[in-house]
Symmetry: C2
Subunit: 161 residues, 2 copies
DNA sequence: TAAATTAAGTTGACAACCTAATTATATCCG
DNA sequence: CGGATATAATTAGGTTGTCAACTTAATTTA
């Protein structure tokens, strides 16, 4: 085999290494990572001037299904980090917003994340960081495009017993 | 806020995008991704001249606990992709090896992966691919180093090989 | 207004892990 | 030798994150 094959294997290896990082997101004040992600998602909307966010909107932004969001929001509500309020215009909708406590947790989480990013940027250097960002987005694009193709293969069921 | 903060946010975003790629590893002939990974892991050993591999060895290489491996192997065995055989020297050990069918599935999976890698390399270009590999490994290193710090907070005692 | 669509929630499942405890050996050392 | 200790694998049970299938309620559209 030629050098291309070597690069392929190195790439596969590097990707596996990377993918298997739990990338540090466990824990944070006793809340589950997915909860934190919802919190931060809501906070981002809030910072842009939309304190209330719909479940469907969270779902879209986080790229998970709405049942998933419903569950997470329920749990966050139980912890007193968010509150729901019915939308008066469209009564199917539910507005989710952070409580003060939720905002605090979100703020802290975001800070922690950004500090980690900041550390990484320092570690890599500014230039390499920019490059890394671009490459990550490129690669994401590649996989996303290809994924559509792969679903066709899914139905090829040659199963046994 | 200076420009660093912008880079941090972009980086966070890019990482999230990337992380949330199921990176195409679902399914494959009806077998679970984790099963496939075990298969490929065993095959790699086989190609290096070690057809039998111990559970603990798989565990180490895949960086998952041995109960996890046991389960996966059990499932693979049920599908007729691997077989166990008792080690005669150390009777606590179990040697796992691919059946012919297992080898075929592993071969195909590896081929598919490498083709995907090959496509990606083409997509990025050789030079950028190399850069990407290096950056991934660097970043993995960064997170791993930092994770060690974070584990103190959690109490998740885990050692490396 | 009936039909279609959309928003959210409920239920039940599953993948991919983990920890703790258990069983069977193996090894080491007084 | 024989007990203490270490190691390999397994069993049992739990957690997280996610989804598909379905329901209910409300809204839009033909």
């Amino acid at each position: 085999m030629n050098s291309a094959s070597v690069t392929e294997k190195k790439l596969l290896h590097a990707l596996m290494q990377f993918k298997r990082l739990g990338w540090h997101e466990q824990f944070i004040r006793g809340y589950k990572p997915s909860e934190i992600r919802v919190l931060v998602c809501i906070k981002r909307g809030m910072d842009l001037g939309y304190p209330d966010i719909k479940v469907s909107e969270i779902s879209k932004r986080m790229q998970v299904t709405s049942p998933t969001v419903t569950q997470l929001v329920k749990s966050l509500e139980a912890h007193g980090l968010v509150e729901r309020n019915n939308d008066l215009v469209d009564r199917r909708s539910v507005g989710v917003r952070l409580t003060e406590k939720g905002e605090e947790v979100a703020r802290q989480a975001l800070e922690t994340f950004l500090a980690t990013m900041s550390g990484l940027i320092e570690y890599l250097g500014e230039e390499q960081s920019e490059q890394f960002i671009e490459l990550l987005l490129n690669v994401s694009r590649y996989f996303r495009e290809r994924e559509a193709d792969m679903l066709y293969f899914q139905g090829i069921g040659d199963d046994e017993a």
